[in-house]
C-alpha cells in the first residue's frame, strides 16, 4: 500500500511485518524513530508475539539479541555511530557465533569531534566484523532490504546489518510502498534455527576455540559470505516476483552501457549522482553509475564485470580511513586488480559529518576526473583556506590548541558559517 511516510516509520512497519519475536534497543540519533515506531506498533497491538526489551546500553541491546537469537527467537535491534562502537565486542560475537540477527544502522559520523549527522564511518568501523552489510539507496529499498535481510540472515545463520543514511533517509518523508503481511509471509518462512539453546536438549554455544580450530571457524565464516554472493541475487529475483519491484541485489548499473567514466558509490548519494549523470549525458558526456548494495560480502566479480569497459572510475564515499584514504575505493581497487587495461581509479571522499553533496560539486568532480585527474584522495568541497591557516598556525606555535575549536573560531571570525 502506498503511503506518504517517514523513512524510519516505514522501516518499522516493514520490520514488524517480518514478525520479530524479540526487539531490544537503546535510542541513539538518528535511528531512534525506527525503534520508537516498533514500540508503538507493539503497544497498539499491531505487532504481536514480540517482546520489546528496553536495555541500558547498546552493548546490552545486542547482547540481549544474541541471547534471544541463540534461544531460537527472531531478533532485531538498531543503532548508529558511537552506539555501534559501544556494542563492538557483541557485534563480533553475533557473527562469530553465527546468529542471524538483523540490525539497522542509521548511518552517522563518529566523534570526536561529536557530530550527529550522516556519513558512513560507523558502518566502515565494523565492515570486517563478519556481518553482511547492505546499503539502501532510498527508503523503498530500506524497507525492502529489511525483509530480504531476515531471509538471508536465517538461511546462512549469519547476522545482517542494513545500512540506511541517517537523517537523509531516516527523517525523509516520501512515497513508499509498504508490503502486506501475506506478501512478507510468502517470502519469509518462519525462523528455523540451525542451532538453538534448549533445556530439553542441552548444548553450549560459544566454546573456547584454540589454534587447532580457529582458522577453520573463520574460513567457514568467509565461505558463508561467499555463499551470500550467490543467494543475494536469487533472493532479489524472488522478491521481485512477489513484491513486483526490484530491490537489493549485489550492485546495480545505471547508464553504464557505453560509459567512459563510471562512478561507484553506496547509499542515498546515488540518487543525486543519477540526476547529475542525466544532466551530463545531456551534454554528451558518457558517464554512468554503479551502486554497491552489498558491501559485505563485497561483489568483486560482479563489480569487475560492471567496470571493465570504462576508462575512468570515480569512487565517491562518505568515509575516510585516516592515513590510508577511502575504504570503498580500496575495495574497488581489488576488483580491478590483474584486469588487463584496467580503468584508472580516482578516489573522492564527500559528505563527511553531514556536509551536503550537491550536483554542482559532483559536476566539477566528474569533469575533473576526465580532464585533470588527481592523485590520492580528493576531499570534495574542502575549505582549503581554513585548512591552510590551521596548518600554518600549528607550525608557528607549539601550543596551537584543539583543531576542531580552532576551525570553528576561524569560521566564526570570517563570518562564513553556513546560513543554516
Amino acid at each position: 500500500m502506498l503511503k506518504q511516510i517517514e523513512g524510519s516509520h516505514a522501516m518499522a512497519e516493514a520490520i514488524a511485518l517480518c514478525r520479530p519475536e524479540v526487539i531490544c534497543a537503546y535510542p541513539i540519533t538518528p535511528q531512534t524513530h525506527i525503534v520508537e515506531g516498533l514500540a508503538g506498533l507493539i503497544r497498539e497491538g499491531r505487532l504481536t508475539n514480540c517482546e520489546y526489551i528496553n536495555v541500558e546500553s547498546e552493548f546490552a541491546a545486542l547482547s540481549v539479541a544474541i541471547g534471544a537469537s541463540a534461544a531460537g527467537a527472531r531478533a532485531y535491534t538498531a543503532t548508529a555511530s558511537q552506539g555501534l562502537l559501544f556494542m563492538a565486542e557483541a557485534v563480533y560475537n553475533a557473527s562469530g557465533l553465527g546468529l542471524p540477527i538483523v540490525m539497522t544502522l542509521g548511518n552517522r559520523a563518529i566523534g570526536a569531534p561529536i557530530n550527529i549527522w550522516n556519513d558512513h564511518s560507523d558502518a566502515m568501523a565494523m565492515r570486517d566484523a563478519g556481518w553482511l552489510q547492505l546499503f539502501a539507496e532510498d527508503n523503498q529499498e530500506a524497507v525492502d532490504l529489511h525483509i530480504q535481510a531476515f531471509r538471508l540472515a536465517e538461511e546462512l545463520s549469519m547476522p545482517v546489518m542494513v545500512c540506511v543514511d541517517g537523517f537523509i533517509l531516516t527523517h525523509a518523508m516520501e512515497r513508499i510502498d509498504i508490503p502486506n503481511q501475506a506478501q512478507v509471509d510468502a517470502y519469509l518462512p518462519p525462523y528455523d534455527p540451525v542451532q538453538v539453546l534448549d533445556p530439553a536438549e542441552p548444548m553450549s554455544i560459544g566454546a573456547m576455540v584454540g589454534p587447532e580450530a580457529f582458522t577453520e571457524v573463520r574460513f567457514l565464516a568467509h565461505y558463508k559470505q561467499s555463499q551470500a554472493l550467490r543467494l543475494i541475487p536469487q533472493y532479489m529475483a524472488e522478491f521481485a516476483n512477489i513484491f513486483g519491484r526490484e530491490s537489493g541485489g549485489l550492485l546495480r548499473s545505471y547508464r553504464t552501457e557505453d560509459a567512459d567514466l563510471i562512478v561507484v558509490a553506496m547509499g542515498s548519494i546515488c540518487g543525486t549522482i543519477k540526476d547529475t549523470i542525466d544532466e551530463m549525458r545531456d551534454e554528451g558526456i558518457r558517464i554512468g553509475l554503479v551502486t554497491i548494495v552489498s558491501y559485505r560480502p563485497f561483489p568483486l566479480d560482479a563489480l569487475r564485470n560492471a567496470l571493465h569497459g570504462a576508462q575512468d572510475v570515480v569512487v565517491i564515499e562518505k568515509s575516510v580511513a585516516v592515513g590510508m584514504g577511502g575504504q570503498l575505493a580500496d575495495n574497488v581497487d581489488v576488483s580491478l586488480r590483474n584486469l588487463p587495461s584496467a580503468p584508472r581509479l580516482h578516489s573522492a571522499v564527500a559528505g563527511l559529518g553531514g556536509r551536503p553533496i550537491t550536483r554542482p560539486s559532483l559536476h566539477r568532480l566528474f569533469r575533473q576526473a576526465l580532464v585533470q585527474p588527481w592523485e590520492g584522495t580528493h576531499f570534495l568541497d574542502l575549505n582549503e583556506r581554513v585548512v591552510g591557516r590551521e596548518i600554518h598556525q600549528t607550525r608557528k606555535r607549539r601550543r596551537s590548541g584543539p583543531t576542531a575549536e580552532n576551525i570553528l573560531r576561524q569560521l566564526a571570525e570570517s563570518g562564513s558559517v553556513a546560513a543554516e
Partner: protein, 197 residues
C-alpha cells in the same frame, strides 16, 4: 529535472512546526497522486533556534537528496529571521515568497527582494494570529499551507486540508484546518480583491 519539480524551503524557529509543515505539504501532494519528499535541515532543532525544512513536489520519482538550494517558494514562519539568516539565498527569479507577519512587506524592509519577483508572488499572512484565534496556540504551519495553496496553486486547498486532518486528529485537526481556510481566504483576498469584495 528541476524544471518539472517544485521546491519549497520553509524557514522557521524551533517549535514553530517547520518540519511538520513540510511533511504536511508532502502529504497534500501525495493525496493528489504526486511524488513528494519532505525533510528537515537536521539536527539544530532547539526551541527558538533557526531551522529549515524542505519539500519537493514532482510528477515522477524524486531521486535528488541535496538540500534545496534554489527554491521555487520560500515560506518564512518568523519575520525576525531576515536579520539572522540568508533566507533568500537561491530564490528563483520567478519564485514565490510567503511571510508570516502582522506587518507589511514594506515594513519588513525586503522590498528589494519583492521587486525581483513577479507581481503578486510575494504575500504576507498573519498566520500566528490566525493560529491563536483558531487553534489557541502560536503554531503557524497549517495556516501557512492554506496560504501556500492560495499563493502558488501548486496543491489544491482540499489536499492541504486533508493533509492537516490526517496529521492532527479530531479537534486539533479541525481547528488547524480552520486556520488554514482563514489564511487561504486572506491570501485570495489580496490576490483578487475585486472578486472577493
Amino acid at each position: 529535472m528541476t524544471s518539472s519539480m517544485f521546491q519549497v524551503r520553509i524557514h522557521g524557529r524551533g517549535g514553530q512546526g517547520a518540519v511538520t509543515g513540510a511533511e504536511m505539504l508532502s502529504v497534500a501532494a501525495f493525496v493528489e497522486g504526486r511524488h513528494a519528499q519532505a525533510f528537515p535541515s537536521f539536527g539544530s532543532e532547539r526551541t527558538g533556534a533557526p531551522v529549515v525544512a524542505f519539500c519537493r513536489i514532482a510528477e515522477k520519482e524524486i531521486r535528488l537528496r541535496e538540500p534545496i538550494l534554489e527554491p521555487d517558494c520560500l515560506i518564512v514562519q518568523d519575520a525576525t529571521l531576515f536579520k539572522v539568516v540568508d533566507v533568500f539565498a537561491g530564490l528563483r527569479p520567478g519564485g514565490y515568497l510567503l511571510v508570516n507577519t502582522n506587518k507589511t512587506l514594506a515594513e519588513l524592509h525586503i522590498q528589494e527582494v519583492v521587486a525581483r519577483l513577479p507581481h503578486g508572488h510575494s504575500v504576507i499572512v498573519p498566520a500566528t494570529e490566525l493560529a491563536l484565534k483558531h487553534v489557541g496556540r502560536p503554531l503557524p504551519n497549517a495556516a501557512l499551507l492554506g496560504a501556500f495553496a492560495a499563493l502558488t496553486n501548486v496543491v489544491h486547498f482540499d489536499s492541504v486540508k486533508r493533509a492537516i486532518e490526517q496529521t492532527f486528529s479530531g479537534k486539533i485537526g479541525a481547528t488547524n484546518a480552520a486556520a488554514a481556510i482563514s489564511a487561504f481566504e486572506y491570501v485570495m483576498a489580496q490576490q483578487q480583491p475585486a472578486r472577493v469584495a
